[in-house]
């Protein structure tokens, strides 16, 4: 068919219009993973503005609407910001401004996670996280905290000033189209910052440190192994010798410790737990507390070369780029502090003022309790409590989802807390969670008072209203005093075993918390040292239940190592402290390897095994990246655990394939302690003999595990044991906050292991969990303060700026990796530092 010229031209025009429409569509709207290309790639306004924003800051005067007086900000060469403000309002306004200037993406993601608004920008992949957060209610708690603040409260004024500073920067970036490139790629604008957002970010931190699912794991273990065996292998009190920092004596408990009441778990409860665990597996890593592993300690008197107080702290967290920390020093009429802040929160969490210094580790007591609610089809959306049926509180949410219709979400609350998982009310039994982080807290006020404190009495008073997370605060001051206190809400239940799901009918409710004067604490102890490393902070005769050996407290080897390092020496200097913080000595290896080598010397070994034995015999217990013995030790310990416990797991069908946290590995801290204790003191423990098998003892299992290890390493790393460097197996990665490999650091061969002081927990031998093949958690900030010399040093693995092209994106990693530190300068010294930059902010 021949078309007329007019028809041809019409078709030509239509074709041109269609193609143009397609091009304009992908330029104006998102398509799949692509942002609106026209706006995103526009050179003057798109992602490219981040290239200019990445340029080093320079001396300049900035217009800062909202300031009461002019403010000076000095940036050290490494990006550390020193704020000199003439009013307290201006100090916190400027902290907000700097946080937004350098960490706006991070701040927005943090508040979105806590408020359940991630799916709005990330789509359905973030829906489970949003549902979880709405159920948990960080925003509900934050709103309650905000509403409870009196109008004239200083913390209220601080939160408002901070939010104004953040919003001033957001407005500036919106007007100049210089928002960070992520906003352009995801095609959205950040909404204004509010004080509630700050309280939500605080809630995020509490959740990461404090929300755990230990009772669910105990339920699975009890169901599979039986109560007696489960509690024998996963006891409440550690079976091995530990070093609590508060060894007592303790005052008599004001209420009795709970007694075990339920020894079996019903099938319907197990069904609820399985459903819940499946839901929890969809959550991001930081939604639940995994092992936090932090260290802090202080010495004074004869233990400090200066004769005054010497303090060290290194909180261990997921290492990310940008880092969780933003380093600042601030001075105003009411404040003078230096340390690290969390973007979104207007003060430092760890650091020092003119008189005292402090750092923190996670207590890791049990802060999450699960209740089995009695429900019934005849009483829909009700639960039976204290002898009567009660209506559940019902909350409804609409979750906006990128690229999909909004999702309706129902949250039901009992007197204990939200029903989990959301949108599911199983007939007959339903699980609810009572999480201490959901209690409104005065933590912000406590942090501000800490910044003012000048002695231990004021320090202790500042923390008296602290609720969550429970933390071990180490303390040192300019008068030579040291101390440690672990404030927080320690739930006491009326009856029952809190490490298991509790009956929700009223008899096992929380009745209160341990009194503040009875929480773990020490001040100027006679041995002149205090230390914590997530170990059980008190001895086994402490009169209150606070947690178990499984995923509550750490296995204690880092605390043992600190004790060993500090107790054997005096006259410590700052350099000694640096060495201890960076130590990769494995305390458990120092106990077990002599037993192992003694066993092996009596056994028939092949050539490779003989070489491996020689390496172990000459080893110094350091998990150095170039150590072959370190590879042998770690592989051996994994095999030894597995050879001892896996036959039992198989025989009793422990559901480790469904719940990865139950896989036999060093992560099951109770098993580390059991095996250590039996190897040292009970080599004929019946557990060494598998069910229905010939009798074995520790020596036989050690020999078997060693031979398997040598064989495994030979297959993985080659036939020459001398070449089995630990760094070939074990790596660290500092993961981009966006989960993007191209913006991450590593993986890089690294020393350390799960319980070295320089912790680098990974599971390089695990085929079942490849995500754990590289260590992603570790010392997120190392700080040492010597009150004798007046010096302080610190470093963190990251940089001050989240912009990946900035010279401050990852500039501190090299020093951190090599065990080096930067001095924590005061404002005057920072100003005199060559290369420092000065901003003047004027209204």
């Amino acid at each position: 068919m021949k078309l007329s010229p007019f028809t041809r031209r019409v078709l030509h025009f239509l074709l041109a219009l269609i193609v143009a429409a397609c091009v304009l569509y992908v330029s104006a709207f998102s398509a799949g993973p692509l942002p609106p290309l026209g706006a995103a790639l526009n050179v003057g306004y798109g992602v490219w503005t981040d290239a200019s924003a990445a340029l080093p800051v320079h001396n300049e005067t900035l217009h800062a609407p909202g300031l009461q007086r002019a403010v000076t900000v000095i940036f050290e060469r490494d990006g550390t910001a020193h704020i000199q403000a003439a009013t307290d309002h201006d100090l916190f306004w400027t902290i907000g401004y700097l946080h937004a200037r350098f960490r706006l993406t991070q701040m927005d993601l943090e508040r979105r996670q806590g408020e359940g608004r991630l799916a709005e920008i990330l789509g359905t992949q973030a829906l489970a996280s949003d549902q979880f957060e709405l159920m948990l209610g960080l925003q509900r708690t934050a709103q309650a905290e905000w509403q409870a603040l009196p109008a004239n409260s200083p913390i209220r004024q601080i939160l408002l000033a901070y939010a104004d500073g953040v919003n001033a920067r957001i407005s500036e970036e919106e007007q100049s189209a210089t928002l960070p490139f992520i906003f352009k790629l995801l095609n959205y604008q950040p909404r204004p910052w509010t004080p509630v957002d700050t309280l939500v970010v605080q809630g995020d931190l509490i959740q990461t440190q404090d929300f755990s699912t230990t009772p669910l794991q105990y339920a699975e273990l009890v169901k599979a192994l039986g109560y007696q065996r489960a509690m024998q292998w996963f006891p409440v009190l550690p079976p091995d010798m530990q070093h609590p920092y508060d060894a007592g004596p303790y005052a008599k408990a004001s209420s009795p410790a709970p007694l075990p009441s339920q020894l079996a778990i019903s099938q319907s409860t197990m069904n609820s737990i399985s459903y819940l665990q499946a839901f929890l597996r969809q959550l991001p890593t930081n939604a639940l507390r995994h092992s936090s592993e932090s260290n802090n300690w202080a010495v004074n008197g004869p233990k400090a070369a200066s004769g005054k107080a010497l303090m060290a702290g290194d909180p261990h967290l997921e290492l990310t780029l940008p880092a969780i920390w933003y380093q600042i020093a601030g001075t105003s009429p009411g404040y003078n502090f230096s340390g690290v802040s969390v973007p979104g929160i207007p003060t430092i969490l760890i650091g020092h003022n003119q008189h005292i210094s402090w750092s923190m580790t996670d207590v890791q007591n049990q802060s999450t309790l699960f209740y089995v609610e009695k429900t019934d089809k005849a009483h829909p959306h009700q639960y039976f409590w204290n002898g009567a049926w009660h209506k559940m509180q019902h909350l409804s949410y609409e979750i906006p989802v990128l690229g999909a219709a909004p999702v309706h979400d129902d949250v039901y609350l009992t007197v204990h807390g939200p029903v989990m998982p959301p949108n599911k009310l199983l007939s007959g039994q339903t699980i609810s969670v009572d999480w201490i982080g959901a209690l409104p807290t005065d933590d912000g006020e406590a942090l501000m008072e800490l910044a003012h404190a000048a002695n231990f009495a004021q320090f202790k008073a500042a923390l008296s209203n602290w609720k969550a997370p429970t933390l071990n605060f180490v303390y040192a001051d300019d008068q030579g005093n040291i101390g440690m206190i672990s404030p927080g809400y320690y739930p006491i239940v009326r009856s029952g075993s809190p490490w298991l799901p509790l009956p929700g009918t009223g008899e096992a409710d929380i009745t209160g918390s341990i009194p503040y004067n009875a929480v773990p604490q020490v001040y100027d102890p006679p041995d002149h040292m205090v230390f914590s490393a997530n170990q059980r902070p008190v001895g086994n005769n402490y009169p209150y239940y606070i947690g178990t050996t499984l995923n509550d407290f750490d296995n204690g080897y880092r605390a043992d190592e600190i004790y060993s390092a500090l107790s054997g020496q005096s006259q410590f200097t700052m350099q000694n402290m640096e060495q201890i913080q960076n130590s990769t000595r494995d305390y458990l290896a120092s106990l077990i390897v002599p037993q192992l080598t003694t066993t092996l010397r009596q056994a028939a070994l092949n050539n490779s095994e003989q070489q491996a034995l020689s390496l172990l015999e000459g080893w110094n217990d350091n998990m150095d990246a170039n150590s072959a013995a370190a590879s042998i030790w770690w592989t051996f310990w994994n095999r030894y655990l597995s050879d001892t416990f896996q036959p039992w797991w198989n025989a009793y069908h422990v559901p480790s394939s469904q719940d990865q946290s139950l896989v036999v590995s060093p992560d099951l801290t109770s098993l580390d302690e059991d095996l250590e204790s039996w190897t040292l003191h009970d080599q004929h423990n019946p557990t060494f003999t598998p069910p229905r098998a010939a009798t074995r003892d520790a020596a036989q299992v050690m020999l078997q595990a060693f031979k398997e290890s040598v064989s495994m390493l030979g297959k993985t790393l080659g036939g020459n044991p001398g070449q089995w460097a630990w760094g070939k197996l074990h790596t660290r990665t500092i993961v981009s906050l966006l989960g993007v490999a191209g913006l991450s650091y590593g993986p890089r061969g690294s020393g350390g292991d799960s319980w070295t002081l320089n912790a680098a927990a990974s599971d390089p031998l695990s085929a079942s969990n490849p995500e754990q093949s590289s260590a992603s958690a570790g010392p997120s900030w190392r700080m040492i303060v010597d009150w004798g010399t007046g010096q302080a040093v610190a470093v963190y693995p990251g940089g001050q700026d989240e912009n990946p092209a900035s010279p401050w994106y990852e500039n501190e990693i090299a020093a951190w990796w090599n065990g080096q530190y930067y001095p924590m300068l005061d404002g005057a010294a920072a100003q005199q530092q060559p290369g420092s930059v000065k901003w003047t902010l004027e209204n």
């Binding site: 041109a16 219009l17 143009a20 993973p33 692509l34 790639l41 306004y45 990445a54 340029l55 490139f181």
Partner: protein, 122 residues
């Protein structure tokens, strides 16, 4: 017969329009510049060629100038990582930016040429 000066004037105007759009966030000025080129210049192939050059230069030159002072390669590499493209050190995003400028201008010119043809027939 159009003079070389006329082509230069239209091309320069298109480039100025595109440049202005790129600097102001008005990316849609690029297809409008192309449309003008398509309506005013002939033959069609020459108009398309000029539109391509105008679009590519309008987006590429500011980027090249920015590259003298700022780390555009690192930003391009970061964007590439975030949107899940295979790492090319940022080259894909830089090329995509220049190509997008060219394509936006060319589709504008194409619509102009086709519209002019339709008007002539009518």
């Amino acid at each position: 017969m159009r003079t070389f000066g006329f082509y230069l004037m239209i091309g320069s105007t298109g480039l100025a329009l595109t440049w202005l759009g790129v600097q102001s966030g008005w990316w849609w000025l690029t297809p409008i510049a192309g449309l003008l080129i398509g309506l005013l210049l002939r033959p069609a192939r020459l108009a398309i060629l000029i539109a391509l050059v105008v679009g590519a230069l309008g987006w590429g030159l500011p980027l090249a100038i920015l590259a003298f002072s700022a780390p555009i390669g690192q930003i391009a590499a970061a964007v590439e990582s975030v949107i899940g493209l295979t790492s090319s050190g940022g080259a894909v995003i830089i090329v995509l930016t220049v190509v997008l400028g060219g394509v936006l201008s060319v589709v504008g010119a194409w619509v102009g040429i086709a519209g002019r043809g339709l008007a002539a027939t009518g």
